[in-house]
């Protein structure tokens, strides 16, 4: 197999404005296949906005974003085959059970959707016992586990994770860590936005710090913890 030279994610001079407020400005970022990048920054620094732009949920006010060479807006359908977003939002229907939810995803993704195919997936996120319960009654952690399961089901080559450790108990956080390690082993590119710097830095190759919507620092993930305060206080 010849190594691909197309970046998993390429953002060029990306900017996004909400009303008069620029949430993101002049951001360039390239993520190579198999690379894992930590996106750090204080609240309101533009991390979530960037991930939503990369997923094609927002339209960039300026600049271009492509996933494996496909423009996320012009070639939306194709680019979404390559990426998966785990967001703050659960994207769930409260009246559906966990099993029904996973079945809808599996059918839409063209994957086997029998109970026998889906129950092992629920087992992976420790939701087997809750498979028949409506997700409206789930705790935040259970909803997060279910949303994480979706990224597994999608089998994408680029995974965007927005605060994946939030709302999870310790076993849940360990599960996410194992999954991210698994993504890296399988050559899946990961962009991880998190406030849990030490935990996230252990899982990433590189870190980018955003501040006021701009790239304030980038370097080895191992250095981000020591540099974060300095970078965000300086600006």
């Amino acid at each position: 197999m010849t190594p691909t030279t197309t970046p998993a994610l390429e953002a060029r001079d990306v900017a996004r404005r909400f009303g008069r407020h620029w949430a993101l400005a002049h951001l360039d970022l390239t993520v190579e296949p198999g690379e894992s990048v930590l996106l750090a920054g204080p609240n309101g620094s533009g991390k979530t906005t960037f991930l939503r732009l990369a997923a094609g949920l927002y339209r960039a006010t300026h600049g271009t974003l492509s996933v494996f060479g496909r423009d996320v807006r012009a070639e939306r359908q194709t680019s979404r085959r390559f990426l998966s977003l785990v967001s703050h939002d659960a994207y769930l229907y409260p009246r559906l059970t966990a099993l029904e939810t996973v079945r809808v995803w599996a059918r839409l993704l063209g994957r086997p959707a029998r109970d026998a195919d889906l129950m092992p997936l629920l087992d992976e996120v420790d939701l087997t016992a809750a498979g028949g319960q409506p997700v409206g009654g789930f705790s935040a952690g259970m909803r997060k586990r279910l949303t994480l399961l979706r990224s597994r089901l999608e089998g994408s080559r680029l995974v965007l994770l927005d605060e994946p450790f939030a709302a999870l108990d310790v076993p849940g956080q360990k599960l996410v860590e194992r999954w991210i390690a698994g993504f890296r082993r399988d050559g899946v590119a990961v962009v991880l936005a998190s406030h849990s710097l030490e935990q996230a830095a252990r899982l990433c190759d590189r870190a980018v710090v955003l501040h006021h919507g701009q790239k304030a620092w980038q370097g080895a993930a191992a250095d981000v913890v020591s540099r974060f305060e300095e970078v965000t206080c300086r600006n």
């Binding site: 979404r80 939002d89 994207y91 839409l108 409506p134």
Partner: protein
């Protein structure tokens, strides 16, 4: 040269057939999901049905106890009850999608937005069709109209056409207005002018079914209704993607 061409599907044709199969599968999945959600929240069907019944009763009170006038206006009252009930049903169908941003979850999957549209529009059409048996029966009682078996079948057929004609643009506008606080006002404001042809066609056709059709006009009105259904279902399917995307 033509002998060299095998009489099988060519590559683009196969690709198109594959695309349509995937689109149909995704549409059915969205439809099944919507019907399941409707079943779980059956109170919505009940409340929309009650709203339709109250509307029919109000028309009856407004006209008074003149059975000739009631019969003359029965088709119009029936279609107006459907139209007014549809705005409640349509706006609610997208409210479910915005709880926990579920619609974004669908959009993040490699699902064709057209499939989401047709799945939801079909679900809305079925929902409005479920109102037919009750509203028609009440209309028969309130407006002193008598239906034979054949009349009832024709009326149900026209109801399906009217429901489809309201659901297609209604689903599109419900998607457009679903994020706005003023959706309850905006949806009827946008929808009502657009569905005037459906209103006219269905009222005239139902009137001909109920009061007789000496000039054989029923076919023309039904075809006009069907034509508008085809136009709405085609056009709105194309426009839906732009309606739900971030501007």
């Amino acid at each position: 040269m033509s002998q060299l061409t095998a009489p099988t599907l060519t590559s683009p044709a196969r690709a198109e057939a594959g695309f349509l199969r995937v689109l149909a599968g995704q549409t059915v999945t969205v439809l099944r999901k919507d019907l399941l959600l409707e079943w779980r929240g059956r109170s919505r069907l009940l409340s929309v049905m009650l709203f339709g019944l109250v509307t029919l009763a109000l028309f009856s009170f407004a006209v008074g106890p003149d059975s000739a006038n009631l019969r003359a206006g029965a088709s119009g009252f029936l279609v107006l009850a459907l139209l007014l009930s549809s705005t409640l049903a349509l706006s609610e169908s997208f409210r479910l999608e915005h709880e926990q941003r579920a619609i974004e979850g669908l959009l993040l999957l490699p699902v064709d937005p057209t499939a989401i549209y047709y799945g939801k529009a079909l679900g809305n059409t079925i929902f409005l069709c479920l109102l037919a048996p009750v509203l028609m029966w009440v209309a028969m009682v309130l407006y002193a109209v008598e239906f034979g078996a054949l009349t009832l079948v024709k009326m149900l057929g026209l109801w399906v056409l009217a429901a489809a004609g309201l659901s297609a643009p209604g689903t599109l506008y419900a998607a457009m207005t679903s994020r706005l606080r003023s959706q309850d006002v905006l949806l009827p404001l946008l929808l009502f002018p657009l569905v005037i042809p459906v209103l006219l066609g269905s009222v005239k056709a139902m009137d001909l079914v109920m009061t007789g059709d000496p000039m054989s006009q029923l076919r023309s009105w039904s075809l006009m209704l069907l034509a508008f259904d085809v136009i709405y279902w085609s056009l709105c399917g194309v426009l839906f993607q732009h309606a739900i995307e971030d501007p």
